[in-house]
Amino acid sequence: MAAGVATWLPFARAAAVGWLPLAKKTMPKPPVDNSSRSDEILYVNVSGVRFQTWKNTLDRYPDTLLGSSEKEFFYNEDTQEYFFDRDPEMFRHILNFYRTGKLHYPRHECVQAFDEELAFYGIVPEIIGDCCMEEYRDRKKENQERLAEDTEANEATDAPLPPHSTSRERLWRAFENPHTSTMALVFYYVTGFFIAVSVIANVVETVPCRPPKGSVKDLPCGEKYQLAFFCMDTACVLIFTFEYLMRLFAAPSRCKFMRSVMSVIDVVAIMPYYIGLVMPENEDVSGAFVTLRVFRVFRIFKFSRHSQGLRILGYTLKSCASELGFLLFSLTMAIIIFATVMFYAEKGTKGSTFTSIPASFWYTIVTMTTLGYGDMVPNTIAGKIFGSICSLSGVLVIALPVPVIVSNFSRIYHQNQRADKMRAQQKVRLARIRMAKKGTSNAFLQYKEDHTLGDRNSDSTALCVKNRSAFEHQHNHLLHCLEKTTNHEFTDEMTYSELCMTESVGFRTSRSTSLSSQQGAQNNSTGCCPRRARRRAAMRLANSTVSVSRGSVQELDTLQFKTTSIPPQTRSSLNAQPDNLKLNCGDQDFTAAIISIPTPPANTPDESLPPTPTPVPGILRNTRATAYTHETVKISSL
């Protein structure tokens, strides 16, 4: 529960007086609060710096070190204070968290040191307030990346081969890390050499060579020495193909390898050659084939295996792809605007080169980047005015220093992304709230069980009362009073869904679960669990409750499928005969649910529950207990 809620509990309990005249049943007895009422000041000594605070302040968060009895381990009787041998600067922030309910991240601190302090004091980092959360996340991500790089570098260099590795693993390792063996190094250099040769050959074959005797026109070298270039190309492609196939063979996960960038580049680099071999010498097709040869230039990207810098560049471009895209988009908008304006301004001119808007694009781009080829020139006054505006604006675009543009876009980008982040965080927050609420209601159910058991057997009351704070006792008593007022009991969702299933099978009346006056004719006749989504959120309780109930409906829906599988698990834990439970869960448990309500036995017909040690008053209490124990198991495993 949130911090300040503890402050309001007395008020909530006092307000329960409003239920008393309406109660159908007698109210339960309130818990006895033996703790002294007066508030005391605690002294906390952190490495010599003495902090003082009210005991109430620390009690606000009972699941942290300072709020629970764990701090008694640090109590020093001689000096009558709690001594912690930790950083006092950090402790200031921790203590402020108790006071204000918001955890702030100090920017000058190392994020890891902060994390360690939080872990020591039992505080989850997720509750860092919104003001500091982004900074914290960024720093944490930075840190993680740095650490990841270091570990990668460490792993890559040393780490001798495991002794019994297959030849395949050794081959893969040789490919990934050429420095391990001489053969790998040789192969590495050979491939690098051939990549270079191939690229240079592609370049050189277009250079005009001296024409052969008897001709005047200059020929590109590629056509003059066609055979030589073809042989060189074949050799390179053979090497590349061989390398690709070896990598494919050696890769631990072939699918993943085939989808990786480098493999795609490899394939694209060698495909044109094979396509050229296969394709017939057709006039029409050879045009397309020529285009395909362009892809040979991709061989240069194969160098990225050999160059770390190229890889980093690629990674950087990939990471700011969206910013670049936005920049490009805005430039495109400006180009379109100016091109349109120039076209219409120059429309009347005879012999104007601005024949269409797309044709004006070229003029706009050339002008904005201050190239000014001069092949398209405006003639009208309006055209000249707009042309000058265009070039001035282009100057503005180019003249701003690149970091400023980049940082501006980054800022705008983050501003827009903050809304998405908020929404994503909100989802997480709601999920946590939902879990906490489930935890609270489950805690209440458990409390009730202990309480009813305690009523019967006063000896075991002390045992049953587990280590709960006074706050929890009082809160549970409050919920108990509400139950008595309305003569209905709180249950958990699984039991409720079971009840729902039985009622929807047995009784066809549509029940409404929401009783507020707005419901009216908006009930779905889908049985007793209509969706709350249609309910008008006229009650402006901040959407939390509504969305929680929506969420709980969704959970309910999923649970309706799960209930068929959950009970067998709990029974298996009691039964120790797991084989019996490998039944078709579908029908069996459905019938079990129907049976469990009217008739006493809470079991599926074909197995018997071993007698539980504690006497249980009601049927459903039993199922709830088992269901609840399962719940506790589930939650603790989280």
């Binding site: 109660a23 009210w54 304006v341 055209g383 039991t495």
Partner: protein, 233 residues
């Protein structure tokens, strides 16, 4: 001649563009359109209403709390609401945290009206502490009067069936959906009928404060439960 045509057309374009920009600027000046996402004139939030409560001695005299208790109460209150007053939204949020399974907003609304005795839309520390004083330290009579005040939504001195039904539905809403036995739609209505049968002595369809107090004083259960929350705080 041709150049004249070119110049006219070009100048026409210039003129049109200038006209468009001028009209946009005019609309902007008139405040009909705004260029930035947030409104240009941000609605100035009234500076947070700061409310300082009366002195400790006065509150001590008016309520039945001791000095220390008032201190503890005020520290908690001020920590949660630094401005010194609670408005209805915050009130609903706070109350809703205690009832995670259901929807406590309707009941919180009625509670808010019961606490806000001067009906100024916010609950100050004095209202808060006076209400608590009655509920926790008051006589049974005072508590019953407070409860009657809570049920009497329009504060006219009579509880009608509709008012009672609203309250009852609000209370049942707090239970939420997952209850045993499953909540039916008629449950609050039935509960209201039972209540009226008990309370409405002269069967005139409304419960007056005297009927209410009389009936409650004759009911042992209710009288016993009135002492339930006395050791809170």
């Amino acid at each position: 001649m041709l150049s004249a045509i070119w110049e006219t057309e070009g100048l026409q374009t210039v003129g049109i563009v200038v006209l468009v920009f001028a009209s946009i600027k005019l609309l902007h000046i008139l405040g009909l359109i705004s260029f930035s996402e947030d409104s240009v004139e941000d609605e100035l939030e009234l500076s947070a209403v700061r409310h300082r409560p009366e002195g400790l001695e006065q509150l001590e005299a008016q309520t039945r709390f001791s000095r220390k208790e008032l201190q503890i109460l005020y520290r908690g209150f001020k920590n949660e609401c630094p401005s010194g007053v609670v408005n209805e939204e915050t009130f609903k949020d706070i109350y809703a945290q205690f009832f995670p399974q259901g929807d406590a907003s309707t009941y919180a609304h009625f509670l808010f009206n019961a606490f806000d005795t001067d009906h100024n839309g916010s609950v100050s520390f004095e209202d808060f502490v006076m209400g608590l004083s009655i509920l926790l330290r008051g006589t049974v009579q005072e508590k019953l009067i407070w409860a009657f005040n809570l049920y009497d939504i329009n504060k006219d001195g009579y509880i009608t069936k509709e008012e009672m039904l609203d309250i009852m539905k609000a209370i049942y809403d707090m239970m939420g959906k997952c209850t045993y036995p499953v909540l039916k739609e008629e449950t609050p209505r039935q509960h209201v009928e039972v209540f009226f049968q008990k309370m409405d002595k002269n069967k005139d369809g409304v419960v007056t404060i005297d009927e209410f107090i009389d009936c409650c004083q004759n009911d042992e259960n209710i009288m016993r439960s009135m002492h339930l929350f006395e050791n809170v705080l």
